[in-house]
Symmetry: D2
Subunit: 374 residues, 4 copies
């Protein structure tokens, strides 16, 4: 097999665009998080990946783009695989190829991982695709594309329902020819997870290379290293968080298994949110924005909210305003997106592809106009 | 002419739905403002209106709907006219007919007016159309439909560019089967008009019957009477203001011709808005919401913003939040709408029909879900 | 009135684009048929038409376009009227203005007519709009826009339901920047009208200037003069006929009031069409194409069919093929258009605006590609 | 692996819907052609297929639907594979699952094959999905979905560009809840292949079970057996052929390698088609329809044409009409579909997904109305 092809170890590859925060010291290319992957412009008639994958209960999914268009998307099972990215291409033609992980980093499954060990090809690696912008997306299940695949009736929390390929993040980046990095985790929030679990907040791992990819094994691939923010300076950072914090008000209390502390976002008798808890969310939001700003002094920040309801909107806009007032930093915007309706909902009562297309349209318009002015 | 038809004086009409705030004491039906009009279910083969119109420089436009669908839209010139709403209809059929003013109330042209004096028909007046909801819209040129008609290249400020027929207000009301009242004025704001003229704020006339219809003559038709808020209790009041206040920061100072006071919304050297002026807008917004609430204790209030840019969004959301904090009244929502882009812009760089359709979709979804819960 | 404006008699006008087949000898501009009208590029702040209209039972409707966009559409009543096309325009600006008849020529109402006697303006007539192509449309109620206005529930045969403004003819011509002439009559066919009345066939009047505008009075405006085909050489002639011939098979016999002859398109017992009657339609179709070709030696001919069902499609395509075989003339195409469905149907179970948009898209694509090749 | 799952050999499976013409005597389920596959309603938490695949140069692709929605699509490489159709599903839930071949039968690659040998699951096989209709599609590259995947710039003839998932055939069947069988081959025609190779005509293999799957090995799976037409009686048979016959007129002559005969569809000097060759196509079309009718006495036949240009339309409609005239059989319809434009074209200048959606809309409307009447 592959007898007329050359084998290149991952560490030997050149002219490769690596997507996502990756450990420069790793010999293998570890796809631990959504949109982590490799991309190249390559001649040759065939291209195969040499990969090894694992998972405990949430199997990773991957996708293949040829010439910037999705042509394949599939589950990656445990073990070693040869994955053919293309074959039967005319000799001499240059193909743009991208292979990337669809599934978010799995905090709950430390084994969910795709390792690229090398590749076989008879082609040459040309200069990789050039991007006009760099964007970073920070979010929850919406940004993890939960619901972008699957039937409206699907209820199970499964890998196939999640994607990068059909998210507003991908659509926006395609429209702007932007390189994209995503840090997102379904169920997580700013101050609290959907179930009042306050350990599930994205800020905790934002400064790590890939902190949402849990477990000892992933540390081998630099998951818990400090991220080198100088290595990727986003033109804009898009945060789409708050949906799970809103959920906490409607969920039962959560007892921290370690500290036995009881966490609960509380409502008043009239159904409104307890002021004190709103304050906690606002403070956590301000703090998270400061954390982002500290690490990204020049990036425009866009806070998005609304695709799954508007409940927390005034709390989030208040937080953004307070951040501006406290710091004098105006390089930030708060935008509301339309909530799902019966036509735009996807699987698991999450935003479907139609909802993501609308969100991407609004965000793209905004960023285009921002980039024009700046 | 009209020899086989009966003439009904305006004051004699029964089974008529009057749209807009109208003076119950007036013998004539005065259409002074957008969507003011009459609607009925009527049998008969013909229906003609007996009207008299006037204007100084902004001629009124009117529209006709048959069976809830727009079939005609036209300029109404000075003088007396017989306007045929339909003819050639089969005897015995019931037609739903609406005749309404397209043009906003003209603060700058006190003569802009259509008077319905009576009508000719051979039909019978059946029970008028029933509406499931009552909505009130308060706004500026966006809500006055400026740009919903005309070519993208049109630049003159003319009556034909404005409408009720193609606004998000009308589209939302059609989708919800809601009766609609509109109080809107191009160029006006919450704290300041587009040109820093602080006299041009909607709150000033909100409690009048039709205060935006200026002039002595219009007073004959009750324009400056106090509005009887008990006579029309909206399920929701939609405010779409702020666009012109934002404009003030970019415009030269305005000198009040009477007081010689100089008005100007100011920027800091770095281009941001002066905190003190933002505070003034916030305070004016809070005050206006309180005024609306005072007169409409039960109505849900929705503040919309964004169709012409997001510049003032955090100031407006802050005002809404402060209102809630100060009053404990949570029966209010702040929603952002997508700004125009090259596909959705209309005439005079204002939102076009496509933009209004998108806005109506988002507002309709929101109100549907609000009505379901309440 | 009009005191600062100059009056121009119709016969004195220059730099005017006249739409539709018109009598060069007429002192008045007579709008007897759909899309007959005038268009100009004009400076000035105001423009008024001096018109006189009449009808017996089907009142004419008219439309106004400013800068190539529809802004008004309305019934024109009997008598003399001043119609304002625009006012309040900045001095020095050039406006493109079109005023045209919406309603088809009325064979059944010889009085249905709009006469333009002159106009008032303070502007100058600039070079009129330039068109890249000339197109002629020949059709029935579909091409007369029946159903493009009005509610789906509307059933009466009224003028307001018909238009040129929302037809595939207008949409196609706008997309191609083509000058448009229309010869169409609801209910008429190639060999037979919808009710088996064989007098109602378009070919009968094709060589007349405006033969479908019946009556003695219209002759004053040249309606029955021979059309000078050299005066307007279409790049393409689009025929959309056959729908009413198909209807004849399902309708009762028609007795010619003059000859007492009985006309009926007949079915076999199994519901299929009688071969002999199909032959008659085919022969009439071939003859009509020959008539068109005789008068338009160079024009590409496109026969359209299908918007109201496909029943006669094979008969029409057969006729087109026979025409080619008999004459060797290949400068002709047969195209099927999608039939209406519940989303695209308009008033009176005729194609609605959505259906016309789809038809225009297909025709525009075809003509674009034809014009590219030729 | 699969330790808690039961293994079922293909021959033991029950409650399985087999898609496509398959050999009832085969112990393995051989997917030789597009949309051949298996479908079931199954409980259980996991489902794996035991497959073995092969190809020489055109690798097969497959797709997975869960609950009637596409969730995965991928290349199937040579050799034995465990393919997971789903995992991680809640115990007790019933999932509708379909696994099918995307790639057409490959006349040029007799090794292109997916064999299902069995499956592992912990679930129970419930009654399989019920379909309201049975449809058969006969076509060329259009029906083989060539161009439905891939970038517009893609030029190579590769497996990934072809699909069943995004074809009008699949979309129509989903809209009508119809079971679908497809017999299609890129480049083939009625009388001649695209390159004038007259051996490449679909009729030759229509009566075989899966004759387009060439080669000795495929015979093991019944490919060259006579198809039992009684086993699947289509409500309608849709033929979409003619595009390649049209191409022959523009291609160089083809020399039959066996007989050395020279094949060429010829043009006259003026660029029109030679009458004699048109006749040959017409005759071949009539003969093919007769062949279809012979085997399917009750099925409605719909001949489609136009997605890649209208050149042969009058020849095909003529053939359909002649068939009717010769046989008196009216249970057949000829429909034209809109040709691609710049927005609807896909890869390899073939119809893209947008074009297939339009075609499916027109065909679905037609069949719905046919089914209503019949």
């Amino acid at each position: 097999m592959h007898e007329n092809l050359n084998y290149y170890k991952a560490e030997e590859l050149y002219n490769i665009k690596l997507h996502g925060r990756m450990d420069p010291d790793s010999k293998l290319i570890a796809l631990l998080s959504n949109n982590q992957g490799i991309e190249m412009n390559i001649t040759g008639t065939e291209l195969w990946l040499d990969i090894e994958a694992d998972f405990s209960f949430m199997e990773p999914w991957a996708a293949i783009e040829l010439n910037n268009v999705l042509i394949s998307r599939f589950m990656v099972n445990k073990g070693k695989h040869d994955i053919c990215l293309f074959r039967g291409i005319s000799s001499g033609r240059t193909m743009r190829v991208k292979f990337y992980r669809e599934l978010q980093a799995m905090t709950e499954d430390p084994d969910s991982r795709i390792l690229i060990k090398g590749l076989w090809t008879d082609g040459l690696f040309m200069a990789p695709p050039y991007y006009d912008h760099k964007l970073e997306f920070i979010g929850d299940s919406i940004t993890s594309g939960e619901g972008t695949y699957g039937a409206k009736s699907d209820e199970d929390w499964t890998s196939y329902c999640m994607s990068y390929s059909k998210t507003y993040a991908n659509l926006t980046c395609k429209a702007l020819n932007a390189e994209c990095r995503v840090i997102s985790q379904g169920g997580w929030g700013i101050y609290s997870g959907w179930d009042n679990d306050r350990r599930h907040i994205i800020s905790k791992y934002y400064e790590k290379q890939c902190g949402l990819a849990a477990g000892e094994e992933n540390k081998k691939y630099g998951s818990d290293k400090d991220h080198d923010f100088a290595s990727f300076i986003p033109d804009a950072i898009i945060v789409n968080l708050g949906t799970n914090d809103a959920s906490g008000f409607n969920q039962p209390p959560f007892i921290d298994p370690d500290t036995k502390e009881v966490y609960k976002l509380r409502k008043n008798d009239d159904g409104t949110y307890l002021e004190e808890d709103c304050e906690s969310i606002i403070q956590a939001t301000v703090d998270f924005i400061k954390l982002i700003r500290k690490n990204n002094p020049t990036s425009h920040i866009v806070w998005l909210y609304g695709m799954l309801g508007y409940d927390l909107s005034l709390i989030l806009s208040d937080a953004v305003k307070r951040y501006i007032n406290e710091t004098g930093d105006n390089n930030i915007k708060y935008l509301m997106l339309p909530s799902i309706n019966k036509d735009t909902v996807g699987a698991r009562e999450h935003p479907g592809y139609e909802s993501h297309k609308i969100a991407a349209g609004i965000l793209t318009d905004y960023l285009k106009s921002y980039f024009l002015q700046s």
